[in-house]
């Protein structure tokens, strides 16, 4: 019987094909098959996809409905992300069709676990992510490569202890197309050579922070892996010698050279007439030995460049900017942290006419006149970042808003000289905005009212804007239904009414920061609990919030994964009990200064995926309770505890927890209960700036 059912499952499509031509649509009553069996897998999967999108936990219920449902769910799942490595074999056995194994939640994956997991299932795995995991070595990689012949995507970033031997084992996976060996510090040219010779299908490779790799290895790589399209050599020691070989890669589209101190003007100039027609993205940020001369010379060789990143690289001169004319297709230009020489910014306007994205974040020398002239030419600009360009005033903003009306992203944190009146221009002219950062500005309710025209607004960061109140937020709540992320950090003028308006008007809300909005109470949280997609809630320093509000959030926002309730002094064990009962997605929690005791803490340990806890200055916590919690939480990767506990907890227990991959941070900050008012705090932060 079961075998027959399995048979039917195996060929649902064939059955369907057989049935479909039959002219009689009405099935005979004797052939009453379960509805799932008659449904083609493809259609069923489409249904399941929708269900999962609405609520990931719904699939679990579905699988428990019947054997057929269970089987269907098994076949449906493509990504397996186990919480604990010891459950890995069971998870892979349950989901034989999974193509992607994401181990980012397993801080420690021993070789044995890896070997037993992948060998138990004749694996269809095509992608494995071990970037957040430690504890495995060359043997584990061997097992992985041997049992997953179709492996195409392997992320082994942060394997700080892995070296040539492991790289040689990676080389067994011949079909690899994407590989990351970032931070393999012991890796040398030998290991890289093993990979380069065998994995000739590689498309994307990251060798970031592989300090042991030298020009020889890179040259061999460039010779053997001709299909590379993306190469990340950030912080490696490559020099002039391998630079031409890299640029000769025929398909290279994306080259990342962040922090390559060996790349200098000489190297950039060494290309002569070599020319990489395929290269589209070049990131040379933080290459300290490059000057404007080198940049000018390299641009001759990359005529089709779309994106250029020269952040923290060299002073921007007019001659360098004029050389941008050689790359007429340039769309994205990032010049973060650069020093602008006179007339350089102005030249951007004339040289980069097709620019879509411009980042001048933290640049010095950005003045009103030049910025105005530049943006007046950049009519197509979609994204502009002028974070911390403190000298710009209303003049610039007027130019930006009048000429770049199609902006979808404007970031201007800490542009404190722009007046509230000018900020209203943003809403009036740039109605396509999706992302807006006005943190630490002079924004007031009138400005927010103007922003009501931006109906596509998805991310709004208006922290440290002391002038905004409930009225302004009401406008946002009414007219920005797509809002996903709102940052109201230290907006002292807000009260519950404004938050309720947001909660009611923005059902898509995923992330809200209400830290130090001292006036808000449980009413806000009760209204926010209707936002079912909320996954990040930061209510640090809101002393009026109690466990009642938190319990509503726990019950309503089942996807909650990050929670910061530091200095919510009223929250106690009851709130924790609700969290443990309902918030199974919780990954990260900060409950410093709360009134939580051992009981609440222990109850949290039932949340199996909890990775990150900050437990400092909790009066009700004893060493025993803390120890017990840490022992039970199997997935912890990082715990912040007061230093006093270090001596009070049994040393072997600490070692045990650390052996599972958890990192302790022992905090030694003074106990400080009072929260200064927002205006005082803002004044302090500006005083620092003046000094």
């Amino acid at each position: 019987m079961a075998a027959a059912a399995a048979q039917q499952h195996r060929h649902p499509k064939r059955r369907r094909l057989f049935l479909s031509p039959s002219p009689s649509p009405s099935p005979t009553p004797t052939l009453v098959a379960p509805p799932l069996v008659t449904l083609a897998d493809e259609l069923l999967f489409l249904v399941l996809d929708r269900v999962a999108q609405a609520d990931p936990r719904a699939l679990k219920s579905f699988a428990l409905a019947s054997r057929a449902c269970h089987a269907a769910e098994s076949r449906h799942r493509r990504v397996v992300r186990p919480l604990r490595p010891d459950l890995l074999p069971a998870a892979l056995a349950r989901y034989p069709c999974a193509t992607r194994l994401d181990l980012s939640l397993c801080a420690r994956v021993p070789d044995a676990a890896l070997a037993s997991a992948v060998s138990s299932s004749c694996s269809a795995l095509r992608a494995v992510d071990l970037s957040r995991s430690r504890g495995f070595g060359a043997a584990g990689v061997t097992a992985l490569a041997a049992s997953c012949p179709g492996l195409a995507d392997l992320d082994l970033s942060n394997g700080v202890d892995l070296g040539d031997a492991a790289a040689a084992e990676v080389g067994r996976a011949r079909g690899l197309r994407r590989l990351s060996l970032a931070r393999w510090k012991p890796l040398t040219d030998m290991g890289l050579g093993c990979v380069a010779v065998v994995c000739t299908e590689l498309r994307e490779l990251s060798l970031k922070w592989c300090l042991g790799v030298s020009d020889l290895g890179i040259q061999l790589l460039a010779l053997k892996c001709r299909k590379l399209t993306s190469l990340d050599l950030s912080y490696t020691m490559i020099t002039k010698d391998s630079f031409p070989a890299i640029m000769k890669l025929p398909n290279l589209q994306e080259l990342t050279l962040v922090g390559c101190i060996g790349i200098d003007d000489d190297a950039l100039d060494s290309l002569d007439k070599e020319c990489s027609k395929s290269l589209q993205v070049l990131d040379m940020s933080q290459c300290q030995n490059i000057t404007d001369v080198g940049v000018s010379s390299i641009l001759k060789s990359v005529p089709n460049l779309l994106e250029l990143d020269l952040s923290y690289c060299c002073p921007v001169t007019p001659s360098m900017v004029r050389s941008f004319q050689k790359i007429p297709k340039l769309q994205t230009l990032k010049l973060e942290g650069c020093k602008f020489m006179a007339y350089a910014l102005k030249a951007i306007g004339t040289s980069c006419v097709s620019l879509r994205e411009l980042s001048l974040s933290k640049c010095s020398g950005v003045m009103d006149t030049e910025l105005s002239l530049a943006v007046s030419r950049l009519k197509n600009l979609l994204k502009l970042d002028i974070t911390c360009c403190r000298n710009i005033t209303d003049v610039s903003l007027a130019a930006i808003t009048s000429s770049c009306t199609s902006l979808i992203s404007l970031r201007m944190e800490s542009c404190s000289r722009v007046s509230s009146g000018a900020l209203q221009l943003i809403g009036k002219h740039c109605s396509h905005l999706e992302e807006l950062d006005l943190t630490d500005s002079d924004l007031d309710d009138e400005g927010l009212k103007a922003l009501a025209r931006c109906s596509k607004l998805s991310s709004l960061k208006i922290g440290i804007c002391l002038k905004i109140g409930d009225e302004g937020l009401t406008h946002i709540g009414r007219s920005c239904p797509k809002l996903r992320d709102i940052d109201l950090y230290r907006c002292g003028g807000l009260s519950d009414d404004g938050i309720i308006q947001i909660a009611q008007g923005c059902p898509m809300l995923e992330c809200i920061n209400l830290s130090y909005c001292t006036e808000i109470t449980d009413r806000s949280l009760i209204s926010l609990s209707k936002c079912a997609k909320l996954n990040t809630l930061e209510i640090r320093g809101c002393p009026m919030i109690t466990s009642t509000g938190l319990s509503e959030i726990a019950m309503g926002c089942r996807l909650l994964s990050k929670l910061d309730i530091k200095k919510c002094f009223e929250i106690n064990d009851v709130g924790m009990l609700y969290l443990s009962q309902f918030s199974h997605s919780l990954r990260q929690i900060n409950l410093s200064y709360c009134s939580v005791t051992d009981i609440g803490l222990l109850s949290l340990s039932s949340i199996s995926g909890l990775q990150n806890m900050t437990i400092v200055h909790l009066a009700g916590i004893t060493p025993n309770g803390l120890t017990a919690t840490l022992m039970v939480c199997g997935c912890l990767t990082k715990v912040k505890v007061h230093e006093a506990f270090k001596s009070m907890m049994p040393a072997h227990m600490i070692k045990n927890v650390e052996a599972r991959g958890c990192v302790f941070q022992w905090i030694d900050k003074p106990f400080k209960v009072e929260v200064e008012p927002c205006d005082v705090w803002k004044q302090q932060s500006q005083d620092v700036l003046v000094r």
């Binding site: 040689a168 030998m190 010779v197 020889l216 061999l220 053997k224």
Partner: protein
């Protein structure tokens, strides 16, 4: 007296040989290279001591006494030959036997003379004597007089031996030159004079040399000729030699006209070049690029180039490195060059090839499809073994320098003249070559001269083919 002395020597030689065999790393020699037994006819004779270190008049006197004694013996033998010369009853074989005895004795004398005179070398080593063997030997010839005219030539040989120290064949060859007993049917290859030094730099000829047709004389040696061990052949008797110097030494035996310093000096090169056409050579291997029938024929410049080319390209690689047991060579010099570096190669390819430099390995990997850099095997023990093995070789080439020399000098010089090993170790190459020369002398000691018997047992340790030709 002869017998007893020889007996003693054989004994000491056996000991020494044992010692030698136990120590695989002898300076300048492959570890398993056969070496003629170290049997000194002079045994504990202090002649081989280093005079400049402890120049002992008593030793010198001993040496001279020994030479005197030896001359007397030879005289006796020749007397008997003269006496029996008239008697018809004497067998031809017996005469031949005695001739051989005389030859051996003379060799022995020469050797002794050289080693005695060699004691002068260290004091001379800074003079131009060693730097310019020809000039030096002229001076020396004048100085020592015709009776000891052999000495400077021997010096020249010792100078040459610096190139490849202690190669047994060379010694045997020289020995053959002296004994001069048999006439080998050699192959006449004109009077091509090839300097030994050419072997290194003039190898394989230089490509791209464009000589107009007819401007050079194209020769093609046959395979047998190429593979013959010698390149210098006596125009009178046809005997073959590896070195021109040895040939010249040999030529003296053909008459007084060859004895003059002028004749013994190196023939001027340009003189012959003026008169003769430039000679170029073709490889006998058809379809080889160096064969004259080849479309893009590139001739070889010297006969040595021919030999090396033929061996390298068309012969089996019969010399295997005794350290790695993988690399094979058809030319001995290549093996020696390799052995100097063998064991240092820590950059391995998956195909088994190893390289002394990483960039060489990567160039190799870049060139060949499917070859990958090979990591040192899993357990680091093997790796470190290999390295330490190589390291021990490195060390052993240093340490045994002193051991070997103590073996050459100190051990044979008996108890009273224990050698200050460290002092010797500090000596430079010039001196080392002399030292080797000394050992060479001794190693050919067992010539049948002392036993008074023609050939036989004492020769058995020599490689047979050389003995055959001797």
């Amino acid at each position: 007296m002869d017998l007893s002395q020889n007996h003693i020597h054989n004994q000491s030689a056996a000991n020494l040989y044992y010692q030698f065999g136990s120590d695989n790393s002898f300076p300048g020699l492959g570890t398993q290279q056969q070496f003629p037994p170290f049997t000194s006819p002079f045994g504990a004779s202090p002649s081989t001591n280093i005079p400049h270190m402890d120049w002992n008049p008593a030793t010198m006197l001993d040496n001279l006494t020994f030479i005197e004694e030896k001359i007397r013996q030879v005289k006796d033998v020749i007397h008997t030959m003269v006496d029996s010369g008239g008697q018809l009853s004497c067998h031809q074989g017996e005469i031949a036997q005695k001739k051989q005895v005389v030859n051996a004795d003379l060799t022995c004398l020469i050797v002794q003379l050289i080693s005695t005179a060699g004691s002068l070398l260290p004091s001379l080593k800074n003079s131009s004597f060693l730097r310019h063997p020809a000039a030096g030997h002229m001076d020396m010839a004048n100085h020592v007089g015709p009776s000891s005219g052999l000495v400077p030539n021997a010096m020249t040989v010792s100078e040459e031996n610096k190139e490849d120290m202690c190669s047994p064949e060379d010694y045997e060859e020289l020995f053959k030159g002296w004994t001069d007993g048999t006439i080998k049917e050699g192959i006449e290859i004109g009077n091509v004079l090839v300097e030994e030094q050419d072997m290194k730099d003039g190898d394989e000829g230089k490509d791209g040399e464009n000589l107009p047709p007819g401007s050079c004389e194209l020769l093609q040696l046959e395979k047998d000729e190429i593979l013959a061990p010698h390149t210098h052949f006596c125009s009178i008797c046809g005997k073959g030699f590896k070195r021109d110097a040895n040939l010249r030494m040999h030529m003296r035996g053909h008459g007084d006209e060859y004895k003059s310093p002028a004749a013994l000096a190196k023939p001027p090169r340009d003189a012959s070049a003026e008169h003769e056409l430039v000679k170029r050579y073709s490889c006998p291997f058809v379809s080889c690029k160096r064969n004259k029938l080849h479309k893009n024929f590139q001739p070889l410049k010297t006969i040595l180039c021919v030999k090396n080319h033929y061996k390298r390209s068309h012969c089996e690689k019969s010399y295997t490195c005794s350290r790695c047991h993988t690399k094979k060579f058809s030319v001995m010099a290549d093996l020696k060059t390799h052995e100097k570096h063998c064991g240092r190669d820590k950059w391995l390819c998956s195909c088994g090839t190893s390289f002394s430099r990483k960039d060489k390995l990567f160039a190799h990997v870049a060139l060949f499809q499917g070859h990958t850099p090979a990591l040192p095997s899993e357990e680091p023990k093997t790796c470190s073994d290999q390295i330490s093995h190589a390291g021990s070789h490195q060390e052993s080439t240093k340490v045994p320098n002193s051991m070997g020399s103590s073996f050459m000098w100190g051990a044979s010089s008996g108890d009273n003249n224990a050698l200050d090993i460290k002092g010797f170790d500090g000596c430079n190459d010039d001196f080392l070559s002399t030292a080797n020369f000394g050992s060479f002398n001794l190693s050919f000691g067992p010539a049948d001269g002392f036993t008074g018997e023609p050939s036989g047992g004492s020769f058995s340790m020599l490689p047979s083919e050389h003995f055959q030709s001797a």
